[in-house]
Amino acid sequence: MSATETRSMLDLLNGFVVQLREAGLPVSLTENLDAMDAVQHIPIEDREAFKYALGATLVKNQAHWRSFETVFEVYFSLRGPEYKLANSDGESSELDDLWREMQDASQEGDGRGGAGSLDALTPEEIAHLLMQALMQGDQALMKALARQAVQRFAGMEPGRPVGGTYYLYRTLRNLDLDGMLAKMADAANHGQESDAGRLEQRLEREEFEHRITEFKAEVEAEIRRRLVADRGAEAMAKTLRKPLPEDVEFMHASREEMVSLRKALQPLTRKLAARLARKRRHGRKGPLDFRNTVRHSLSYGGVPAEPKFKYPRPAKPELMVVADISGSVAAFARFTLMLVYAISNQFSKVRSFVFIDGIDEVTDYFKATEDITEAIHRVNTEADVVWVDGHSDYGHAFEVFWERYGKDISPKTTVLLLGDARNNYHASQSWVIKEMRMKARHVYWLNPEPKSYWNTGDSIVGEYGNFTDGVYECRNLRQLEGFVEKLA
């Protein structure tokens, strides 16, 4: 690589790293240098390899990969010959060739032999063609059709400041992919002899679904390319950015994001368990281990030169989780239950309680099954948490908790309270928390609401908070992790 080339590459890469950092990815200086090193060996023209080379050096957490990929696609979308827009000359003629071949091959182009270009087709024909491509799994044609569909249906206007989702919606609405899936399944069954097993049919259908997902991704990519071409990579990087899993708010997480959240929870609960147990492996506070000392003395000719000590046994942490699962925190509640489930696998003694205006113990639901969705379902349907009207009443719930389970709190117990403390102007009964704290080792409160909303309206988190060892804002994984760190 010549000096100027290296220089421009350096600039390019630096810009990219800035974009990554802005998206929240932690990129250290050494990683940046490694990436620079890596691109000396992989040419930028080999796009996939280039992407993986940058990924291997810059992204050290699989959960960040999606964010990385988005930034990469935006930033490098227009750098590389094969990624020009469909309108350019070479591209469209290539497409037309493909289309002509298709027509020659199949005799189905009845009545429209004259049309030589994809642009001249009617929407029905496009749909028909797409269905064929999907059924045969023809990658090249799918790609071409994705471009054609975007060009035709998205109605993209230069300079218009809307995000990609709007265009995606418009394009997909015109294609009616769900209807197409049904048609494809029909066509596939029709073509085959009817003795094809049900399993076979099902697999076929899944294959189609998979291809449709691929097609959607292709459409999305095309829209992104066009947007970047229109408004520049820097402007688009901001709007198209996807938040990192640890920054996704629990209250507004999509289903897909929930899945990645759940994956990220597991290591966190282990950490929590370790922090609460405060292992003391180092430090010799334990009594002399006679057996072990004698065994080791054999290497010194029977002289006990190296005394061995027993390690102190770390205290087994006991945990009580009391979670609000009312409507106002519904999204958080789901996450809370996932957290409770994950925690109960890590600790030897966990008891979990859920409440709205009544309170019920749900420990057994989590113990009985290994399937978290089932456990959550049972909690939501079977737990007896409604006392009067099903609106949060923290005061009553705490009172009942104290009456029924208060005696089980021991000096070894840590109590975690989860909720937004929106009490619907009921009596707070905060004395319960005060008593609790006297008896328990620690009492913590995690609040899913932004700090600025606390103590506004019917929120009385401050009143409860005075009696706990700390109230923590817990809107995303990063904050939850921060809480776990602070426990140390």
Binding site: Y52, G55, A56, K60, Q62, G197, R202, E370
Partner: protein, 292 residues
């Protein structure tokens, strides 16, 4: 660094072809990162679900380059005497007792802390080896965070410091693979020193090819069906999704049973080979039998 880099690979394509020849089907990411690891002389941290061929990757690279594989299996409570080196106390003791009166203290002192009394453990062995080696540090997420620090010196500088002897530098830079099942977050310091490679379940096409390569005698259509069923099962919300090795086991079983096409009954009867939890088996069986 101790010695200049000797490149083992010419291009990404060569890595991929080489691996293919010994029946390891690498995708773009795997081949690319292996190539980079060689070029940059950096260790690779391979992460991903169990049974997706992380350990096999290191083995295959070793086989492909004709290098010796040195393996360090990590476990909780591992310490430097198991990973790096240890002094052979008993031999030292014997040495002192053998000539009690002849030599002066300094002579003995210098003598008992020499190579002769050093027991090499995998990490030290890897960097002192004369022949080409591939070092595999398996399941690094099993050791405690504190123990990770043991690895840092060897991973970044390819050297081991022994207080009594000084620093031993690598004669050649070995390819190093660390694997992790991601049961806990590894420390930043460790991650920073490595190239990161995530190995996920393979795509359907790749899995079919893996079955074809690994199970001789399987027909194209059966391999295709196997890959499809496995993908279908993986899409369920399971405690432990079937791994590639389990797919291969399943293919072998079907072959032994002389089954040519999979239907519902066959699938359900052999599910226990793919899935290891009773709840998962029940769930998958239920899902397979309900149509649509």
């Amino acid at each position: 660094m101790a010695s200049e880099l000797v490149h083992r690979f010419e291009s990404v394509q060569q890595v991929r072809d080489g691996l293919r020849d010994i029946d390891y089907l690498a995708d773009d990411g795997i081949a690319g990162v292996a190539y980079l690891a060689d070029r940059l002389g950096k260790p690779v941290l391979v992460e991903g679900p169990a049974g997706t061929g992380k350990t096999q990757l290191a083995k295959s690279i070793a086989e492909m380059t004709g290098a010796r594989l040195i393996r360090l299996q990590c476990y909780e409570g591992m310490d430097e005497s198991k990973a790096l080196f240890e002094w052979n106390y008993k031999k030292q003791l014997l040495r002192i007792q053998a000539d009690k009166n002849s030599e002066s203290w300094t002579d003995i002192h210098d003598d008992i802390f020499s190579d002769e009394f050093l027991l090499t453990r995998p990490l030290l062995e890897a960097i002192t080896a004369d022949d080409p080696v591939v070092l595999l540090i398996d399941e690094v997420d099993r050791v405690e965070v504190e123990t990770e620090a043991l690895l840092l010196e060897i991973l970044s500088e390819y050297q081991v410091s022994i207080p009594e002897l000084g620093t031993i530098e690598a004669k050649q830079i070995p390819l190093v693979f660390l694997t992790s099942n991601n049961t806990r977050e590894l420390s930043e310091a460790l991650k920073r020193r490595c190239l990161f490679l995530h190995v996920d379940y393979p795509s359907m096409e790749r899995e079919r090819e893996i079955v074809l390569a690994k199970v001789p005698g399987v027909t194209d259509s059966l391999a295709e069906q196997i890959a499809r069923v496995v993908r279908s099962i993986r899409s369920l919300d399971l405690k432990k999704a079937p791994s590639v090795s389990e797919t291969i086991d399943w293919a072998r079983t079907l072959l032994l049973l002389n089954i040519e096409t999979i239907d519902e009954t066959v699938a359900k009867e052999t599910l226990h080979i793919l899935l290891k939890y009773q709840t998962d088996i029940a769930k998958a069986a239920k899902d397979l039998s309900v149509d649509e």
